[in-house]
Assembly symmetry: C3
């Protein structure tokens, strides 16, 4: 605990933690101040993300980068899962799907791209284990195929169609979860030696002891989830005030803030030349959302939703996921990175973001 307080004293960024109780106070007292709540919740997520990053690195230092990346992706995606469950209970299926698709695209392009760029600005060329990147990109590709094929193969648009989509979504959800589980078995158990870290990396600061790290991970994750909920409630109204389209908010803003914690970890690892950890967080998070969070939401919707959710996404979202996967596969093929690779991924992301930002509301 003293160590945690020392850390807070040393790092001025963490003083923003004081905003966490302020967020909850303002929400209790002025629940209609959407723009204020939006700004406060974004500012409060930043220091929480930084703490989470440090805690994850301390755990990863003891478990190896592959397990550390999985751990980080899982904890980071808890936030997404919590948000999506709230929306699911309210029957807001469009928001759930937009935030899932947005999270996949943002993790694959923005988080990976910014990691490569930030790492590349400090290190001339960085190496990483491409086996892990290829596996995760392959898994996201599998999910993209599962989202694409039903609409590519079917021609009808009828009541029969709806039943078809529903049954198929259930089957595909089970399939994707099975693929994810087998992928984990493969990369963490039977063939773990293929996914060992390539680089040495810098030693970094002294890691926290395991107990403190795990306790911080747990506590901060809960706080992130609570603040995120405030953020999601306020974001739609605040976005209107800022003149953003709903598509842009669901795809870009929610995904960027929802992934802030993981991004802090991924960027910091890239700067320390531990690119395997960055790639593991970014693509691991994308594949986990695509093959675990999304299918679980379909299954859970049978229990808690007003009606079952299917896996039929907006065609534009499917195209964006497919392009993001192809780009990530193309880019990670060599296992080497430099600053321009990051720019390249960010440019693809910017094309998406710019299109969504300008999209006329009626055509979404």
């Amino acid at each position: 605990m003293t160590q945690l307080l020392n850390e807070i004293r040393r790092n001025p960024l963490l003083w923003l933690l004081a905003l966490v109780p302020v967020v909850f106070a303002v929400q209790m007292l002025k629940p209609a101040a959407h723009t204020l709540l939006f700004v406060l919740s974004v500012l409060a997520i930043v220091p929480l993300a930084a703490l989470l990053s440090h805690a994850t690195e301390s755990v990863a230092a003891k478990t190896g980068d592959a397990v550390g990346g999985l751990l980080n992706a899982t904890l980071g995606n808890l936030t997404e899962l919590v948000i999506a469950l709230a929306a699911l209970r309210a029957g807001e299926y469009m928001l759930v799907k937009a935030s899932i698709a947005g999270a996949i695209v943002t993790n694959t392009l923005f988080m990976l791209g910014a990691s490569f760029l930030l790492g590349g600005l400090k290190h001339h060329v960085q190496e990483y284990n491409r086996a892990g990147a290829r596996l995760q990109a392959g898994l996201v590709f599998l999910a993209a195929v599962a989202l694409l094929i039903p609409s590519a193969v079917s021609r009808a648009d009828s009541a029969e169609e709806a039943a078809f989509t529903q049954t198929l979504s259930l089957g595909l959800a089970v399939l994707l979860i099975a693929a994810y589980a087998l992928g984990m078995l493969f990369s963490l158990n039977t063939h773990r030696e293929l996914f060992a870290s390539a680089e040495s990396g810098e030693a970094g600061e002294a890691p926290w002891p395991m107990g403190l790290a795990l306790a911080t991970l747990a506590g901060v994750t809960v706080l992130v989830a609570l603040v995120s909920e405030v953020f999601v409630e306020s974001v739609q109204k605040a976005a209107e005030a800022f003149g953003m389209t709903p598509a842009f908010v669901g795809f870009i803003v929610v995904a960027l803030v929802g992934g802030a914690a993981e991004m802090a970890s991924a960027f910091s690892a890239a700067r320390k030349n531990r690119l395997d950890l960055s790639v593991g967080i970014a693509l691991g998070s994308a594949s986990q959302i695509a093959l675990f969070v999304a299918p679980v939401l379909v299954l859970v919707s049978y229990l808690i939703g007003p009606m079952p959710m299917d896996l039929q996404f907006w065609p534009g979202a499917v195209v964006m996921i497919l392009i993001a996967t192809l780009t990530a596969s193309f880019v990670t093929n060599s296992g080497r990175s430099a600053w321009f690779i990051g720019v390249f991924l960010l440019m693809v992301y910017l094309i998406f973001a710019m299109t969504l930002y300008l999209l006329p509301p009626r055509s979404q």
Copy 2:
């Protein structure tokens, strides 16, 4: 001949050969017993496939894996060609196209995936010559482009359009056959050293003498063709009895049974760590169907069909062929295989199969 009888005595699977005359007898006596004929013909194809596999391996042992793979693909596809010619004479163009597309997808995803999985369950990591895999995947990609471009480029839907499609199909058929011939020239003649087998493989059983192997190849191929014809006649009716959609039958069931012989060879080679042979059979068969069988059927339709056949496929089929090719290119890029690579390919195949199985009949 004694050697062949010895083989049959040793291997209980081959006792099913007794069903081959039973199939013909039932067809003569009870041509309307579709479900019985379906079950009998599937059971009769299994031992024939096993014999074919052993004979091909004996020939391949003397010719090298590249030529052996080509030989195997050609003999295996004779079945598909015989079936398709029968359907062509009857003017059943939808069935011909569905079985072509299904065979390409099944060979690329199921045969390759199951080979990788079966090989990977026995061997930790398997190496193979990726040059051959890349060439065959590239050829199938070429065929997919030829199927995709006409519909992507054209906007009209008129009588003019029909004439355009017909002439274009003829031109593309000639182009694909030329590409296939040049690809053979490249891989078997001018640059054969690039396609030499990478692995050592196990010695396997003592190969048959060349004469016996060739005679068995010829005789069994004829029997497979005859039994396959019974199978195709009965499958549609039997499928209805089992509640399968026509799309599922054409794409999946016909392709799986039609390729049983090649699959037996490919799987057995994978278990013996001769993955080059497996990859050669699976992708070689896919490229041969796409660039040789399909174009030849277009040309032959001018001679024996009630009207010319074109190369305009159902859009869903083109998307599946394209995705199958991209997946195979992605997966074979490294020249290494492990069990999960097989699972990955099979998962993509399962997504296709599940979608087709659930597809409401009217929307196909």
Copy 3:
């Protein structure tokens, strides 16, 4: 100057230079003789292209292949730019877009493919630096995404839509130019060592002195631009006389003749086993048209056009650009070439060309 005259005396091809003044004379005297002007201008471009090729090689000999390739691509694309500006001033936006898309596809498939084929017929296997090929293919992929996403994401077809497309095109144009500039910074400055030539190449003829080479480059470029303008004016009418569709003329004929100069350089370099230069010219030219010429035309259309031009291309063109990029990425992945790789690229190009040639005019 004596050196230039000696060159002309030695090389009978260059005697065709005499046709350059003839072209201008016929245009003055008989501006309606379209078919004659078409034939004359094509014949006059050939020797100019040959001269340009020799001059570029002389400069490249002193600057290294990466800079030489950039230089060549820029000078070669000056022609395209000049032609497009003339069409822009006349408000012929369909022609501008068709020639841009055609130039990207022709450079990526035909110029690269013919280089690989011509080089491969002389050399068994050729190596080249795949880093450069991957960078350029990646840039063209980025442009393809920028052309694809707006239409994939948007659903409407209204006045609102038009404003959306216009603003988005402006934003994407700036984005693409920025990506191109950063790509240049990366490959020519910060990471130039990654893009160094792999092969040794033949010494070739003695290069011209720098002054003569630069003067020839400048003078011949101007002549090519002037003759090209005659060519463009005559090509549509001549094409009708030869029975070609407008789509085929815009995409294939204009692109082939417009790129004749660069092709001469690329083919000659491939024969001399300097494949890095060939790949640099072909893919560098494609990426420059996609990320520099096209966006600049959008920006310039605000100044000189009757109305602003957008980046919304014909869907068939976007599909062809996307397939061309995927093919080039797939093919250049290994950094090795042989004759069949060239055939493969040419076959994809032939599929496009054949489809466009047969396309009924109303459905374009």
